[in-house]
């Protein structure tokens, strides 16, 4: 009972922080729109792209949702580093709340922010000419939950192993950008050179993007149930892992 209260409290703070940083919300809506409108339209006019209604712009729409969730989740996860630098983490760590509950609260908070971000994009689907129905909306929403939670777990894992914000550029170059580029957000993942193909299928975000694309456009490289299982499995693994490591490494987090 008390643990639920702890999870809720930590989630609530995370959600409040998200809502209060208005500039962050704005930029995380504008960035994907720039991708869709400029990159999507630009490259879309240069290449002839399959038989998807809406063309290339529509093709990358689920990919850009995935990208937005990825960035929001990782950045929020990394905020634990800032909590540590500014000392607030101590206040949470010295409370009589179990370490896993702290992690769950945090992951749920991160997930909430990422999902809000995704929902905003879903509502903007008309911009790229994607036809949105209530069923697609609900299905996409449900898919975003494990995607966000899984990536939030990745963010927390990074935070556990990173001492300060100085490592942030490394995180961008070696984790966030490769995850985004390899996910098939911007290109179809079938028929690639085999080394790239392997890398693409090792990227957990690939499955999230493919599942979203399947739901939103009815087009995907993998059967929906396969990608959904991978996405849910990945979320479970990252939460368990970060809860375990957080408890184990609590001494180093101070």
């Amino acid at each position: 009972m008390a643990e639920w209260e702890g999870i809720y409290t930590i989630w609530f703070r995370e959600a409040k922080r998200y809502v209060r940083y208005r500039s962050r919300i704005l930029s995380s809506v504008v960035t994907p729109l720039l991708w869709l409108l400029i990159f999507g339209t630009g490259l879309g006019s240069a290449i002839r792209f399959g038989n998807i209604a809406g063309g290339y712009k529509a093709f990358i729409f689920p990919g850009i949702i995935g990208q937005t969730i990825l960035f929001t989740a990782i950045f929020s996860g990394v905020s634990v580093i800032m909590d540590r630098q500014y000392g607030f983490l101590k206040e949470i760590m010295v409370a009589p709340v179990s370490r896993p509950s702290i992690v769950f609260g945090k992951v749920l908070g991160i997930g909430t922010a990422a999902i809000i971000q995704g929902v905003i994009l879903l509502l903007l689907s008309f911009v790229v000419g994607v036809h949105m129905t209530p069923v697609i909306f609900v299905a996409s929403f449900l898919l975003m939950i494990p995607i966000s939670v899984g990536l939030g777990g990745v963010g927390l894992l990074i935070a556990i192993f990173t001492e300060s914000m100085e490592g942030f550029n490394l995180i961008m170059s070696f984790i966030v950008l490769p995850m985004f580029l390899l996910s098939g957000a911007l290109f179809p993942v079938t028929g690639l050179p085999s080394s790239l193909q392997v890398a693409v299928y090792l990227d957990p975000l690939t499955y999230g993007v493919d599942a979203l694309r399947q739901v939103i456009l009815g087009y995907g490289a993998l059967p929906l149930y396969v990608s959904t299982i991978v996405v849910v499995g990945f979320a479970l693994i990252t939460i368990t892992l970060s809860a375990t490591l957080f408890s184990k490494k609590e001494q180093n987090l101070m």
Binding site: K16, R17, G87, V94, A95, P96, E250, M254
Partner: protein
């Protein structure tokens, strides 16, 4: 005597550095207990172990009757902690900090409002309670942190350098809070500090810590009385010569140099100032200044460790 905190050879070792070395403390219930020592003496490490966020390398401790390793959750419920470094979130209001804390410590819902009002009253945040903490002054932040540590009615309040970096007036205010609190509530306060004045004014008992060891612990009054001495501080042109000659005088109980000054422990110093000046003149030593002090905790500290608590500071 009823002790609320007891440690048994508690130690913390980092590689080949021993931050806390087999410390044994007994802290009486409802006292204000001070751990006094210079920076790097091991104060924060000791407090961190007692509030369960750092595991001891060896030894053990009980806080409110619970073992810090085996019953860390019970310990956490019994204590409130104000860390040396700020532990506030910029983008939450003061009230929200208190609400969050009440929830994390499982204060029953129906009590929360009342407790928060009670604490806000004590720490006198006024209308600022509903503003983001990034707009607070240093003193308000500290008060909020102390108030937050009290929301769940802890048995023990840990204060790690509570007035570090605050201006003198705010420091006085915080001291007043701590005194008021200790008188009004059933609470033990364990504080660390490197301000002599703070320890002298607030603490019922003080443990002097240096390089991970407790050198001495007693009430400030007893510590001072034990010196049985006044202190004469002199500045002379030829320090070495003076000390060599002065060591022959039997009314000087102890002589040492601190920075460029000579400190001598004597009994009833009023009568000796003139004697010492004459003595110096007889030996052709120029006296630049001479001062008589009744001992304070700083002198106690110097007596036991041979150095000032803050290097180079007066």
């Amino acid at each position: 005597m009823d002790y609320i905190i007891e440690t048994n050879d508690i130690s913390k070792i980092y590689g080949d550095f021993t931050a806390v070395d087999k410390i044994n403390l007994k802290i009486p219930r409802n006292s204000v207990y001070g751990i006094l020592g210079p920076n790097g003496a091991g104060k924060t490490t000791l407090i961190s172990m007692l509030c369960t966020i750092l595991h001891p390398s060896s030894g053990s401790a009980t806080v409110n009757g619970y073992d810090v390793m085996k019953n860390s959750k019970e310990v956490r419920k019994s204590i409130g902690v104000v860390f040396q470094s700020r532990a506030l979130d910029d983008i939450l209001t003061g009230r929200e900090h208190l609400e969050m804390h009440a929830a994390l410590y499982g204060v029953p819902n129906e009590l929360r409002k009342e407790r928060i009002e009670e604490v806000l009253d004590l720490i006198a945040l006024g209308d600022k309670a509903d503003e983001f903490t990034k707009t607070y002054s240093g003193g308000m932040k500290r008060r909020l942190e102390i108030g937050r540590g009290l929301i769940h009615h802890p048995k023990i309040l840990f204060l790690d350098e509570p007035t570090l970096g605050l201006d003198p007036q705010t420091r006085e205010n915080i001291w007043e809070y701590i005194q008021k609190l200790n008188q009004k509530e059933d609470i033990t306060v364990l504080m660390s500090t490197h301000y002599m004045e703070e320890a002298d004014k607030l603490c019922d008992e003080v443990a002097i810590i240096n390089r991970g060891h407790i050198i001495k612990s007693d009430s400030p009054k007893n510590l001072k009385r034990e010196l049985k001495a006044d202190i004469i501080t002199m500045k002379v042109d030829d320090q070495e010569k003076f000390i060599k000659e002065a060591e022959k005088l039997d009314f000087i109980k102890n002589i040492m140099t601190v920075d460029s000054e000579i400190k001598m422990m004597v009994e009833s110093g009023e009568n000796l100032v003139a004697t010492l000046v004459n003595f110096a003149n007889k030996n052709n030593i120029m006296v630049n200044s001479i001062e008589l002090d009744h001992p304070n905790l700083e002198d106690v500290f110097i007596n036991y460790t041979g150095s000032r608590i803050i290097e180079g500071a007066k």
